[in-house]
Amino acid sequence: MKLITAIIKPFRLDDVRNALSEVGVNGMTVTEVKGFGRQRGHTELYRGAEYVVDFLPKSKVEVAVSDELVERVIEAITAAARTGKVGDGKIFVTDLHQSLRIRTGETGDNAL
């Protein structure tokens, strides 16, 4: 099993969720995060005091999937999240040692 973590632009979240459903992923966990990267932040002005805000709002999508799904999921996320502009985000994949569904105690792929 793998844990796929995607940092995406927030307004793409609905598209990503739909894309994931289409490849058969039924669960995911989303966190609102602030991202720092190549994408330029914006300026804020308060009574003339100018602040450059480098951190931009991003959504972090975490999906645990079985190994065979990994490629399809990455493709689905990439397609749905891409706008072609800087700041589209990243996908990170880590190994999942174990997984468990709290309600039933099921483990492994059955837990997802």
Binding site: E44, L45, Y46, R47, G48
Partner: protein
């Protein structure tokens, strides 16, 4: 004799001016600080309202508005300490004295509350309370007596309809001094200190606009043509202040901001305050446009050039506005410029001279005394929290509360 219409209006005007502080100013200031200090600001406004009310009852009202005998030029007397002698029957002008005393009290509340903006996010609550008490008794009370209680400025026919000097110069200058004595917030000006809740600040600003009708039109102490005109010119100056500040931002930064437009409004309102019973709509328009423009540049100058951390810009808005308005009263109050005409048929130049004297006197007294009282306060307790406490935020450190606990 009591006039019920005048009394009705003054009852309401009193409510409106209290509304300016609670919740108006509290929200305006509270929204502009960082979320970890929001409660400390609200607490300061509430505590000032409470303590000043009791001080007013005990000696304040008497020291401002009763006859000081030989010392009358400088201070009132103590004959009405504890509001002695004020009964259901007591009358001031055409309204019950109880209402007059209450109306004036609301001015005594908002003045020290305005200063809070200067030392927000770092001053200790206990020090704030002690300082505000001393400041009320030794700055607000005497200056109010000089101007409105028959003191030396009143005798000179210095004109201040609703508090350009008593409220705005006083508070503005005190703010500047307090900012300098207490020092900058950690991280100022390099670190971003963005308002945590601008909608709250804008809400407070809206309340200030509405409440200011009580402030200025209430100062006519009657529901008459003078009150009506004071409301009209107040409103025109506020609108003009909005437009002028917005225009400056648009020209200089390319985008107008909501914090800018409401700051322009406050500038317009503060600046028209001393003039509101004396000028006409045309004068108000000029005053408002000047207020929005000059206070905008004053803010830039104090904050960016001088890097003084008068955190919520009390001096450039209220201080500069108050000074400008007090002087311009000597100009646009002239009948030739649409005003009601200067006392004793004085020329503009003559009245301007008097206005200048009152302005300088207030600046000097407020500035010097504020410095002194802060030094005295510092002998009794620390003026500001430690660096670590500042990081944690005043709400938790001083009040063991948190402002928000919003979960989805």
């Amino acid at each position: 004799m009591i006039n019920s219409g005048d009394t009705a209006w003054l009852l309401v005007a009193t409510a409106l001016v209290l509304f300016m502080t609670l919740p108006g100013l509290a929200l305006f200031y509270g929204g502009l600080v960082r979320s970890r200090n929001v409660l400390s600001v609200l607490m300061q406004c509430f505590a000032i309202a409470a303590v000043v009310s009791l001080l007013w009852m005990v000696v304040g009202y008497s020291l401002v508005f009763t006859d000081g005998g030989a010392a009358q030029a400088w201070t009132g007397g103590l004959s009405k300490a504890f509001l002695a002698g004020i009964t259901v029957e007591s009358i001031t002008g055409t309204v019950p004295e109880s209402v007059f005393a209450m109306f004036q009290l609301t001015f005594a509340i908002i003045t020290p509350a305005l200063i809070v903006g200067a030392f927000a996010e770092r001053m200790r609550f206990a020090a704030m309370l002690l300082f505000s008490t001393l400041w009320l008794l030794l700055v607000y009370v005497p200056v109010a007596h000089w101007v409105w209680g028959g003191g030396w400025l009143a005798q000179m026919k210095f004109l201040d309809f609703a508090g350009g000097s008593v409220v705005h110069i006083n508070a503005g200058v005190a703010a500047l001094v307090a900012a300098l004595v207490i020092g900058k917030r950690r991280g100022f000006p390099s670190q971003a200190m963005t308002p945590h809740n601008l909608p709250a600040a804008v809400t407070g600003a809206g309340m200030l606009w509405v409440g200011w009708f009580g402030f200025n039109a209430g100062s006519a102490l009657a529901a008459n043509g003078s009150a009506g005109m004071a409301m009209l010119v107040t409103h025109v100056a506020a609108a003009a202040g909005c437009v002028a500040w917005m225009a400056q931002e648009w020209l200089r930064f390319g985008k107008p901001s909501v914090l800018g437009i409401v700051t322009g409004m406050v500038a317009g309102l503060g600046t028209i305050t001393p003039a509101s019973g004396f000028v006409g709509p045309g004068g108000a328009l000029a005053i408002g446009l000047l207020a929005g423009t000059v206070c905008f540049w004053a803010t830039q100058f104090i904050k960016r050039r001088l890097a003084i951390d008068d955190s919520l810009d009390v001096f450039p808005v209220h201080g500069v506005g108050g000074i400008m308005g007090t002087l311009l009263t000597g100009v646009f109050g002239a009948a030739a410029l649409g005003g009601i005409g200067h006392p004793d048929g004085r020329t503009i130049a003559a009245q301007l001279g008097v206005q200048l004297i009152g302005t300088v006197a207030t600046i000097v007294w407020a500035g010097g005394m504020t410095w002194l009282l802060l030094k005295v306060t510092a002998l009794v307790c620390d003026l500001r929290v430690t660096a670590e406490e500042e990081n944690e935020g005043l709400d938790l450190v001083l009040h063991e509360e948190r402002g928000y606990n919003i979960t989805s």
